[in-house]
């Protein structure tokens, strides 16, 4: 009978044991041996407490006390250590065997593995693999943090949204706060809300994986870029649920943007600066034949001045003079052909923005020159019709001139004001003022002529090129001396109109 009992108990898929009143185990079944990895002989003499998770000692002790006091069977849930060291949850039931007087003779114990039952609620409840889970959760949290990637679950049936800790951190919301689409929208960049809302609506009705990029706007004005990839899963009720990875890609996007901006600026600076380089190249190309012309002419004069005059020699050098003159003319012709192909690119240009870019470009050299720049740009300035790069070349010229004009100023602060305003409805005006030495008012017209310069190393080309650019735009450029100190250079160009019609004439031109 005993043997039969033992054989039957061995077949039970539960841990079964008997213990003396003090808890010393005197019998265990096969499942016990398999679970704990000990033999029956070795199990004998031990106690249930030897397998118990330290945190559950109280629960077991409480259970035993209740049992001693009240009798009958009692049960509790405790974690028991498996042969590999992992603790699993067991529902343990004790049944006392008593004699006629009610003295405790033995305990019958049965432990049922309830680990998997509890495991379904793993995220919220303490589970048998708590340590393991905690570890993997910690690892996951670390990974999410390192990769700036959070995860979210969105259950469509209940509209319930669950975020990982990292996602709360990315959105900078307090962990555990109740998530709603309305709350999330308070963080989405206002410009991206319409698209985001539309996406949420679409994903509700058309359930399939999606991805998106949108921005967040933090209360302090910082902008974050998020990249989201979502897949459809089924929750435990078989209802669709989106599981998504959301990565904070701000750093990458900012780096991309900075790179794009630097590239565009570089190309732009090269184009604006090319005017100076072009002037130097023209000078070199023309100077070579000019050197020949002057030398030949000198030689020719000398040959004619000898006694008797060297007529043959003079004739030969005169011929070479003509040849070199033609060469110089050829250079100019080539240049003219180069520019003739270039039609004025007309597009709507925001003069404020164009001037702002020029100031940014020149800021380094202006600071070195000790010049303080003040921008006085009119809000709501009309855009102008023109070639952005050429207009910027003019602005570069005016600003550099103003800066140079203040070179000798030492007894007062050097300031330079760049301003824009409307000139009536049809014209846009840009003004560059300085407090430098100014110029003789009688020179107000002459300074725009080619090769007129007041600067020690000036070419006299800048203002004449500026004038031809502004006139090609149908505008006007002029200068006057300030009443206090310095000069004021102004140009007006036509405001942009859809039909491209030119206004009659600039108002207020000098």
């Amino acid at each position: 009978m005993q043997n039969q009992f033992s054989a039957d108990v061995d077949l039970l898929p539960v841990l079964a044991w008997t213990a003396l009143p003090d808890g010393t185990i005197d019998y265990v079944n096969r499942s016990w041996c398999e679970y704990t990895g000990t033999s029956r002989d070795n199990a004998r003499g031990t106690s249930l407490e030897s397998l118990l998770h330290p945190d559950d000692a109280e629960a077991l002790a409480g259970c035993r006390c209740a049992l001693s006091d009240a009798g009958g069977s009692h049960e509790c849930e405790v974690r028991l250590r498996r042969h590999d060291g992992v603790h699993r949850w067991f529902q343990v039931r004790f049944v006392p065997q008593q004699d006629a007087e009610g003295h405790l003779l033995k305990w019958f114990g049965v432990g049922t593995d309830v680990e998997n039952l509890r495991g379904t609620n793993a995220l919220s409840a303490r589970t048998g693999d708590e340590m393991e889970l905690k570890q993997s959760q910690a690892f996951l949290a670390k990974t999410q943090r390192l990769s700036h990637t959070g995860t979210l679950a969105w259950r469509l049936r209940t509209d319930e949204i669950i975020w990982s800790e990292e996602l709360y951190r990315i959105y900078e919301l307090n962990p555990g706060v109740k998530l709603t689409h309305e709350l999330i929208n308070t963080r989405i960049h206002p410009e991206d809300i319409p698209l985001h809302d539309e996406m949420v609506q679409r994903q509700r009705s058309d359930v399939r994986g999606y991805s998106s990029e949108h921005r967040l706007l933090m209360p302090d004005g910082r902008v974050k870029y998020l990249h989201l990839v979502a897949h459809v899963m089924e929750d435990e009720h078989g209802d669709p649920e989106y599981i998504a990875a959301v990565q904070d890609v701000t750093e990458r996007r900012l780096a991309d943007e900075a790179l794009d901006k630097a590239r565009a600026e570089l190309a732009h600076v090269a184009r604006v600066a090319s005017l100076g380089a072009l002037a130097a190249a023209i000078a070199h190309e023309v100077n070579q034949p000019l050197a020949g012309i002057i030398t030949n002419a000198s030689t020719c004069l000398r040959m004619l001045a000898t006694e008797p005059p060297n007529i043959d020699g003079a004739r030969e050098t005169a011929r070479r003079t003509i040849r070199d003159g033609n060469r110089a003319a050829e250079v100019i012709k080539r240049l003219r052909a180069m520019f003739a192909n270039k039609e004025l690119e007309t597009e709507p240009v925001d003069l404020n923005e164009a001037a702002r870019e020029v100031i940014a470009m020149l800021l380094g050299e202006l600071q070195q020159a000790g010049v303080v720049v003040q921008a006085e740009f009119m809000q709501g300035l009309s855009r102008v019709r023109g070639d952005r790069v050429q207009l910027q070349q003019v602005i570069v010229n005016l600003i550099r001139n103003a800066s140079d004009a203040m070179h000798s100023v030492t007894e007062r602060a050097r300031w330079l004001r760049v301003g824009t305003c409307m000139d009536g409805e049809d014209w846009v005006r840009l003004v560059v003022r300085d407090n430098g030495d100014g110029f003789d008012p009688r020179d107000a017209e002459r300074i725009f002529q080619a090769f007129h310069t007041t600067k020690p190393h000036g070419t006299g080309i800048g203002l004449s090129v500026s004038r031809s650019i502004i006139e090609a735009h149908g505008g006007r450029i002029w200068a006057f001396t300030n009443e206090g100190q310095g000069a004021c250079f102004t140009f007006t160009v036509p405001a942009w109109t859809e039909n491209g019609a030119s206004p009659a004439s600039p108002i207020g031109s000098a």
Binding site: H284, Q288, I294, T295, R323, R327, H457
Partner: protein, 121 residues
């Protein structure tokens, strides 16, 4: 002409190579013209040239390169630079490094002849 100073003109520009020797010969100098510094270094005139009129920017060896090469070989032949680029800073630098003068093209004959006279003092 025999016994008058020998001047070498080294310039990659043909009109300079033709006009300058004409002028200098007219003024009594003996002149040899070369299209590059390498040709001058290989020539028989290397040892007997008393002054160099040297273009700065040339393909291959530049004017200052040739001057340094000559200094390395222990030669103190005076050099007058001529250039189509008018960089004032470069000019100062070249003068500091031992050039007699640096003339910016186009230059007038009087300036060149004055520099040459100083070089041959």
């Amino acid at each position: 002409m025999e016994g008058s100073p020998l001047v070498a003109v080294i310039d990659d520009d043909e009109s300079v190579r033709e006009s300058l020797p004409d002028l200098l010969r007219e003024c009594g100098y003996r002149v040899e013209a070369f299209a590059c510094g390498e040709a001058f270094l290989d020539s028989e005139y290397l040892d007997v040239t008393q002054c160099l009129i040297l273009d700065i920017a040339m393909p291959g060896m530049s004017g200052p390169d040739l001057q340094r090469e000559l200094q390395k070989r222990g030669r103190t032949t005076p050099v007058i630079f001529i250039t189509g680029h008018g960089g004032a800073a470069d000019r100062q630098q070249l003068m500091r490094e031992g050039a007699v003068d640096c003339l910016i093209k186009p230059f007038n004959d009087a300036d060149l002849l004055r520099a040459l006279a100083i070089a041959l003092l």
